[in-house]
């Protein structure tokens, strides 16, 4: 095992969980999150000799993941389907508390671009300019998407979330 491979293995161990979490926030699906994280790491491994010299290799792999997610969204009319299709039968993550569950359900109902902007802005804690660069959007569009997303969340938090189709109901 070379030094570079050892470094990559350590990098993998340090970044994988966080990447998977980011993938889940963007997609709402753990299987797809894992696929995105694995794909991003495989692509990063391909450029590891260069990336290992970066100041923040973690930023690089997250950028790869976000780009991969973007390219999935670009294909066909996926975003339109996201807008039209509100998933109502997803398992909720545990231990969020009632407020958290309602907020997360509202986040999941956001259109993809709004959700991606909010996730990168408030989970990854990236400045708006960096979010714009990652998503390939003008800064003004990012600001507008963030504003509309937050407004929509505020609006929805006033109403209970739609309940799952089956199983327990309040």
């Amino acid at each position: 095992v070379t030094a570079a491979e050892r470094e990559f293995r350590e990098f993998f161990a340090a970044e994988y969980g966080r990447l998977r979490g980011l993938g889940f926030l963007l997609t709402g699906d753990w299987a797809q999150a894992e696929e995105l994280a694995q794909d991003a790491l495989v692509r990063t491994y391909g450029a590891w000799s260069r990336v290992r010299r970066h100041e923040r290799p973690g930023a690089y792999v997250r950028k790869v993941l976000v780009n991969r997610h973007r390219s999935l969204l670009r294909r066909a009319a996926v975003e339109a389907r996201h807008l039209a299709g509100r998933r109502v039968e997803e398992a909720c993550p545990p231990d969020l508390g009632e407020d958290g569950l309602v907020l997360w359900a509202a986040v999941r109902r956001l259109p993809d671009r709004q959700r991606a902007v909010l996730v990168l802005r408030y989970h990854e804690d990236l400045p708006e300019a960096e979010v714009a660069r990652l998503l390939g959007l003008p800064l003004g569009t990012v600001k507008s998407l963030a504003h509309r997303g937050l407004a929509r969340l505020r609006g929805e938090l006033g109403s209970p979330a739609m309940e799952p189709t089956r199983g327990t109901r309040r």
Partner: protein, 394 residues
């Protein structure tokens, strides 16, 4: 501040990941697959074309053509035909030669085969099955097939549920047909499933849901150790020489579809949703899902609910009006999930201002696929001057 609540919630959601055991091993496999795909992508296309040409070659040499067995997806009584035989299954998109020493009979999703020799037959737990199936990206021999321009991107990458049990392995048949195999021991039997990629192609001009690229051609059998080499040899021969036809070939016309059969080509489930925002009401519905073999069919039927009050049909506009969906599987996809091979019918009942009411489902869905009966979620009264309405909303 909504921003702070959002940040906290997102952090907690992201931290609630399921266990990630074996992530690095999966990474190594992922990396190896990607390397192999990159190296083999161009060669594979040419070699598969060559394989098809080789499989077809004897037909043009003036030899007496072997008898044919046409499979329509609606098998009649079991009727075994001895090889050599050419089996054509356009609904499953394959044509294959059955060699001498083996017999074949159509099934609703392909063919079954058995040894002509009764002594050898006793070494098998049942017939050898040749049909189409579906494997998620993780196991699929061509996990990137959905990236072809003929497919629309999935909203969620295909998943397989339940995950098949068994020991996984991969390899290649001659002519570089890559396979995925599951094996497990079941007493004396060595149960084996072999898959090769067999993407489903929609009619020309129809954008195919990505999941359909994950279709596979499958051979499954259980044999004891004495017969396993012979049966495995048959499986290898079938998968190594099968020829794509009809819906396995881009641009070809589809074969006529039979009606979907609940429990075989499609599974119907009831849905019940209580709206707690928006127009407020109760939604009744049905979800139809193509089964894993992804055999094409057309969904028909009559689906309705009836609101009953005081023992009689209640005064509700649209009460008990049937909905008659007509959708083609497996192309149809549900807008809610984006998943291929699914369709949903939804009715909304709103504005109920009278006393207790009950609902009867008029659909014939089996009891094991009905939701748990909750207390009747009658919709709230919005206006006594307006009628109660039951109508289709999706």
């Amino acid at each position: 501040m909504i921003e702070d609540r959002l940040a906290r919630t997102l952090d907690r959601v992201a931290a609630a990941a399921p266990p990630e055991d074996g992530a690095f091993d999966r990474f190594l496999r992922h990396r190896a697959r990607r390397s192999r795909r990159t190296a083999a992508a161009t060669a594979l296309v040419g070699l598969v074309a060559l394989a098809s040409a080789v499989a077809l070659a004897p037909r043009g040499h003036g030899d007496a053509a072997p008898p044919r067995l046409d499979v329509s997806g609606q098998p009649g009584p079991e009727h075994w035909r001895g090889g050599p035989l050419v089996v054509s299954a356009p609904l499953e998109g394959f044509e294959v030669g059955v060699p001498a020493g083996w017999e074949a009979t159509p099934t609703w999703k392909g063919i079954d085969l058995r040894p002509a020799d009764p002594d050898l037959r006793r070494h098998l737990a049942g017939p050898v099955q040749l049909d189409t199936s579906f494997l998620a990206e993780r196991d699929n021999p061509a996990p990137n097939a959905w990236k072809d321009d003929a497919y629309t991107a999935p909203e969620t990458l295909p998943t397989l549920s339940p995950t098949p049990r068994g020991e996984r392995s991969t390899g290649s048949f001659p002519l570089d047909r890559r396979w995925f195999r599951l094996e497990r021991r079941d007493g004396p039997w060595r149960a084996t499933q072999w898959h090769i990629s067999w993407p489903y192609r929609c009619e020309p001009g129809v954008a195919c849901p990505a999941k359909l690229a994950m279709r596979t051609l499958r051979v499954a059998f259980s044999a004891d150790d004495g017969a396993w080499p012979q049966v495995a040899g048959l499986g290898e021969r079938l998968l190594g020489t099968a020829r794509p036809i009809a819906n396995a070939v881009a641009g070809q016309r589809q074969a006529p579809r039979p009606d979907c059969v609940d429990g075989r080509t499609v599974v119907t489930e009831r849905l019940l949703q209580t709206e707690t925002y928006g127009p407020l009401g109760v939604r009744f519905g049905w979800r139809f899902r193509a089964t894993a073999p992804l055999v094409p069919c057309t969904l028909r039927g009559r689906f309705a609910v009836e609101v009953v009050a005081d023992g009689r049909r209640a005064d509700v506009q649209g009460n008990a009006d049937p909905v008659t969906p007509a959708v083609d599987f497996p192309e149809s996809s549900d807008l809610r999930s984006g998943e291929a091979g699914t369709a949903t019918v939804l009715l909304r009942w709103s504005n109920w201002c009278d006393g207790p009411a009950a609902v009867r489902w008029l659909d014939g869905v089996p009891a094991d696929r009905r939701p748990q009966p909750p207390p009747l979620p009658a919709p709230p009264c919005r206006s006594t001057s307006r009628p109660s309405v039951l109508r289709r909303v999706g």
